[in-house]
């Protein structure tokens, strides 16, 4: 041990310690930083940063995985929620549409308390004929009978031409076979509304048997007169487009535009019963 304290190596080490302490003490008092720390820090910092970055990355990777799993779960939940909301929205829109549809009929029901309605939906259209014939999703099981009037909130559009258990085919006002007793709402001139082969493609029909001294004018509203008992009284059928002289007799006929574009009708009501109805099917 004594040998060590007397050796040159000990003296060198002691000198280094003394010098470092002296430098540290002086600079610590004067500069408040130790230059050896700066030097060491300058060497260590990049390594430390790299290590920290690697540690951060590795740690972050596992954190990220956990977070990803949570985000995925949350995403799934949100997707489910969005799907449910979408369904709810569709239901809501459907309900709103139905509500509007029924609200429109409320006025008719208030004006004619004897009416019994059966709501129906158009499920098919016969495009092989130009008369706007369509099929609805209600048949005899729902109480629908042949010759029952088919209406929308705007007015009459036809009657049940054929009925089966679960569906019915509607003969529209454009069909040449139809015959509705109608009158002009303004002048009370009466006539018969029927379809015409020549007019069907333009989506119009005609009011025939108008007397020569009629006062019907373009724009007049045509309503059902209720004669015959197939259609109730006072429902709109269409508006007058023009008046023409008949080719077959000395009378006149009016070209009528129906209350609805028949190609665009989606929801209808079948009048299964009303006051004064004659049950032709029976």
């Amino acid at each position: 041990m004594r040998f060590f304290f007397k050796s040159k190596r000990f003296k060198v080490i002691l000198a280094i310690i003394l010098i470092l302490s002296l430098i540290g003490g002086v600079t610590g008092v004067v500069l408040a930083t130790a230059p050896q720390s700066d030097i060491l820090g300058a060497i260590i910092r990049p390594v430390q940063s790299a290590a920290d970055s690697v540690a951060g990355t590795v740690g972050g990777f596992f954190d990220q995985m956990q977070e990803n799993r949570a985000v995925l779960d949350e995403n799934e939940q949100l997707k489910e929620q969005a799907a449910q909301d979408r369904y709810k929205l569709v239901d809501y829109e459907e309900l709103q549409r139905q509500n509007e549809f029924y609200k429109e009929f409320l006025g008719i029901k208030e004006d004619h308390p004897s009416f019994s309605f059966e709501p129906a939906m158009v499920i098919a259209r016969d495009t092989a004929q130009p008369f706007g014939t369509f099929t609805i999703n209600k048949g005899s099981l729902a109480g629908v009978e042949q010759y029952d009037p088919v209406i929308t909130s705007a007015g009459i559009i036809g009657y049940i031409g054929q009925v089966s258990a679960t569906q019915s085919v509607v003969k529209t006002v454009l069909h040449p076979d139809i015959n509705i007793s109608v009158l002009d709402n303004r002048t009370r001139d009466s006539g018969n509304l029927t379809g015409d082969a020549a007019l069907a493609q333009s989506g119009t029909c005609k009011m025939i048997y108008l007397p020569r001294d009629n006062a019907v004018a373009a724009g007049d509203l045509i309503i059902s007169s209720g004669d015959g008992g197939v259609f109730p009284e006072g429902l709109m059928v269409g508006t007058v487009s023009e008046i023409k002289a008949s080719e077959n007799d000395t009378g006149y006929y009016a070209v009528i535009r129906p209350v609805e574009e028949l190609d665009e009708v989606d929801d209808v009501m079948v009048l299964t019963d009303f006051e004064g109805q004659s049950h032709l099917a029976e």
């Binding site: 098919a124 259209r125 016969d126 495009t127 092989a128 004929q129 130009p130 008369f131 014939t133 099929t135 031409g161 054929q162 089966s164 569906q167 085919v169 003969k171 069909h175 040449p176 015409d196 082969a197 020549a198 007019l199 069907a200 493609q201 080719e247």
Partner: protein
């Protein structure tokens, strides 16, 4: 033999699917309306299937398609069933006895059938009124022309789906024996050649 039978079942399944598609297209107007005319895919299928099948198949397929058409039309019940049954039978017999199954025959047979169908449709729908003729030219004839073009497209599609060599016609003994023998001789000669 068994694979032939299985192919036959697959073919009928294909016919079934095509029929449902045609029904949907015809009655929920999905096909484009050209100059106010719509196609009648069920009738077109009857013509094509009848041209590829024997008379019984053509008849029964025509009747089934006619029954589907009857569901949504105002004609007396069974009207289109009988009409399409006749169309199926006639198309099948024509290809069996008189013409070959190719595009030219298709245009001749299909064109004639569509023309007759349009006249019958006009008489049933519009009747004999003064405006019927006008309506015939402005609607029914247009439909017939549109259908003829659609028939050509459908025929090519049919051939692409079911193959160009399908033909299952077999003489059923309903034809005169002499005619049948001639037909068989023709087939044998063709095969030898």
């Amino acid at each position: 033999m068994e694979s032939k039978k299985r192919n036959r079942y697959l073919l009928f399944l294909g016919y079934g699917i095509m029929t449902i598609l045609a029904y949907v297209v015809q009655f929920t107007p999905l096909m484009p309306c050209v100059f106010g005319a719509y196609p009648t895919p069920l009738l077109l299928l009857v013509i094509i299937v009848a041209m590829h099948e024997n008379d019984w198949c053509g008849m029964i397929y025509g009747m089934l398609c006619g029954m589907l058409t009857d569901l949504n039309s105002l004609t007396p019940p069974g009207f289109y069933a009988v009409l399409y049954l006749c169309i199926g039978l006639i198309c099948s017999l024509l290809v069996e006895l008189l013409v070959q199954n190719n595009v030219i025959s298709l245009l001749c047979v299909g064109g004639s059938v569509l023309l007759i169908h349009s006249v019958i449709n006009c008489l049933v729908g519009a009747g004999f009124s003064a405006g019927s003729w006008l309506l015939y030219f402005t609607f029914y004839l247009r439909c017939a022309v549109y259908n003829l073009l659609a028939l050509l497209v459908l025929y090519i599609l049919f051939k692409l789906i079911f193959g160009f060599d399908i033909r299952y016609k077999k003489p059923r003994g309903v034809y005169p024996k002499k005619l049948l023998r001639q037909k068989m001789m023709q087939t044998v000669n063709r095969k030898e050649a």
